[in-house]
């Protein structure tokens, strides 16, 4: 019996050892994972009405068909930027702003290699539904590779926003305004900048029950006169989600250029170095928000920043040294004259 037990134990150990060094045999994946989708959809739908729309999905892989499974998930914000936090778990509770109950999409779609497919979708808002903003995301999953230690899976997401018109609670509060450094690893406000700030940031807390996209302008006043104006402070139409503290950034000087993206011409805006002299600048924000039929609200705020480049600080230091030296020389000369041309005697 003892011998039998030891034989079984040895066999089990051998199996375990084989498992460690031999991963599951790989099976070639059948689906492509190259897709082109619409990243965002926006709708305005009155209660009791519905919208039927289509979405175009392309399979960019010319060799493999693309098998996609579709599902609707909720999302919120990751931080104060516009990056969505996708609520991917199956057991996550539905958000209060979820569009899930109203959004209908097919469960799956297969697109031939190099082909395009248009799928139907609809958003139906029940009669009597309250006004506000509702949003969810459509996830297109391409399926995972089967085998190896690390399997890969590619998914695309379309963010779907719907406004239900009516009387809503709109409340944005200005939390911060200033020069914004987007160049550093973690972009943040700067009060004193040794590099020319290229962006102005303003942080708004959304305490209402709708998403908000403020518009307006910013004036930049130099301490010795001169003014620059930023006419469109939200050129991307960026949103502050419900409950989000959102930092919007806008270029002090904007360069707009046409780029060729996948065969189509698109406008791309980038911040370029603005014309700033060293010194203090005062920022004046005048922003507006408010939906159709609701009170138009205004946000007014001021902030300051200093642009003090290294060359300017060195120049000021040298100037101070020169002035100090001149004053010291003058004092020494005066003392000598008072002493009859003789240096002061040491006691």
């Amino acid at each position: 019996m003892k011998r039998f037990k030891s034989l079984v134990a040895a066999a089990l150990m051998a199996v375990a050892a084989i498992a460690t060094i031999a991963p599951a045999p790989p099976v070639a994946a059948q689906s492509s994972s190259s897709l082109s989708i619409v990243p965002r959809k926006n709708y305005v739908i009155e209660p009791g009405k519905s919208v039927k729309d289509t979405m175009v999905i392309r399979n960019l892989d010319s060799a493999q068909p693309l098998d996609l499974s579709l599902r609707v998930i909720d999302f919120t914000y990751t931080d104060d930027s516009g990056t969505p936090k996708l609520l991917l778990g199956e057991d996550i509770a539905q958000t209060t702003w979820s569009l899930k109950p109203f959004l209908k999409i097919p469960e799956s779609v297969t697109i031939p290699a190099g082909g395009t497919k248009t799928i139907d979708m609809s958003v139906a808002i029940p009669a009597g539904h309250g006004a506000g903003s509702y949003y969810s995301a459509i996830v297109y999953g391409s399926g995972a590779g089967d085998g190896g230690n690390v399997s890969l899976s590619a998914s695309g997401v379309t963010l779907v926003f719907t406004q239900i018109p009516g009387t809503v609670n709109e409340n944005l509060h200005l939390e911060k305004l200033g020069a914004y450094d987007t160049e550093q690893a973690k972009p943040d406000y700067v009060f004193i900048d040794i590099n020319k700030p290229q962006s102005i940031g303003y942080t708004l807390k959304n305490n209402g029950n709708v998403t908000e996209a403020p518009v307006g302008s910013i004036k930049l006043k130099y301490m010795f006169g001169g003014e620059q104006s930023i006419d469109n402070i939200n050129s991307n139409g960026s949103l502050a989600l419900i409950g989000q503290t959102r930092t919007f950034t806008t270029c002090i000087k904007l360069k707009s250029q046409d780029v060729n993206f996948d065969g189509a011409r698109s406008a791309a805006n980038t911040c370029i170095e603005p014309d700033l002299w060293p010194g203090m600048y005062t920022i004046s924000l005048d922003a507006y928000y408010g939906q159709n039929g609701n009170t138009t609200q205004e946000i007014v705020g001021t902030g300051t920043f200093w642009y003090l480049p290294i060359w300017f600080l060195i120049a000021v230091a040298v100037l101070l040294l020169i002035i100090t030296f001149i004053v010291w020389r003058t004092v020494v000369k005066i003392r000598r004259r008072l002493n009859g041309g003789q240096p002061k005697k040491k006691k």
């Binding site: 070639a28 997401v157 302008s217």
Partner: protein, 357 residues
Amino acid sequence: MKHHVFRYHAFFYEWRRLVSGEVISLGLALFLVVSPVAALRFDQRSLTMQSSLPGVTTNYTISFQYMSPDPVGSIDLLFCYNPIPYEACVTPTGLDVSDATLTNQTGEEGYSIQSKSTNHIVLTRAPTVPVGTTISSYTLSGIKNTTDTSSAFAVRIKSLASTNGSGPQIDFGSVRGQATNGVMLETQVPPMLIFCLAEEVQDNCAGTNNNYYTDMGTLSENSTLTANSQMAVGTNASGGFAITADGTPLSAGTHVIDSPTVPTESIPGTNQFGINLVANTAPAIGTNPEGDWANALASPGYDQPNRYMFVPGDVVAYSPNVSLMKKFTVSYIVNASKDLRAGVYTTTITYIASGRF
């Protein structure tokens, strides 16, 4: 001291004779009465468009609360893209108020249209001091909506003492509106998000090597197992893109190789599973993001050479705005301690490309 007091008294006494007390009083009174009062912003401003469909002719109801207790003889309404009163006014594309009629008014009443043009209306009445704090509303019919659904527009409102919209303003403020076609507001040249993923991908996602798994070999306490995958991404959406990495650390049944939650060096002999998106020398794996556009970046934490981490749900790469195609190489490292239980350790990492808002 006494001498100084007498000198001051003598000096001011002389001036008092030159400028009498009556003159000083009159000056003060004039200062108080004539000194300019800063214009106030109308409160409770709103615009209700009966129809927001682009290009249709509809009614606009503009409401606000008068703030200053001064006689108002006219209301100036200027329709522009920009709500800021001192900015240049650009007329919203397709908007036309030249056929507008004033069909209803509540609160402060008695107005009629004095003049109108494509984007400008002046309401006039006999100058009267606004009474009470109720909200006044004015409905203008026959306004043709802007055809531009991509931008909001504003009505710049100001009240004036004159009856023809000239002279200094009393109160001012703007209301916002936007034409929407009820289906899609985003009218960018078709926004697209292109994304592909495999062990190897082409820059423009036209092809991949169709391999979606990696066999990393046998775990050992003395060496680090490594692997690479690639993904290419680009978008013409003005908000940019984000790539989220979701999944679980390597596991075999209930045994898990944990991942550092902050960027950490690869240390053989410890249990570690991590990734990053840049070129590394320890171990020598990966490459830096490839592509002309500099605005698509590996996220902080995943952009440090020779440092690895993995937190499920983290955004590992992003662009804040339009980005042409960019290729990211993801490097994977796995280390194992000598105490790690035997088993086949596997995971599935899902990379999710999304737009931003």
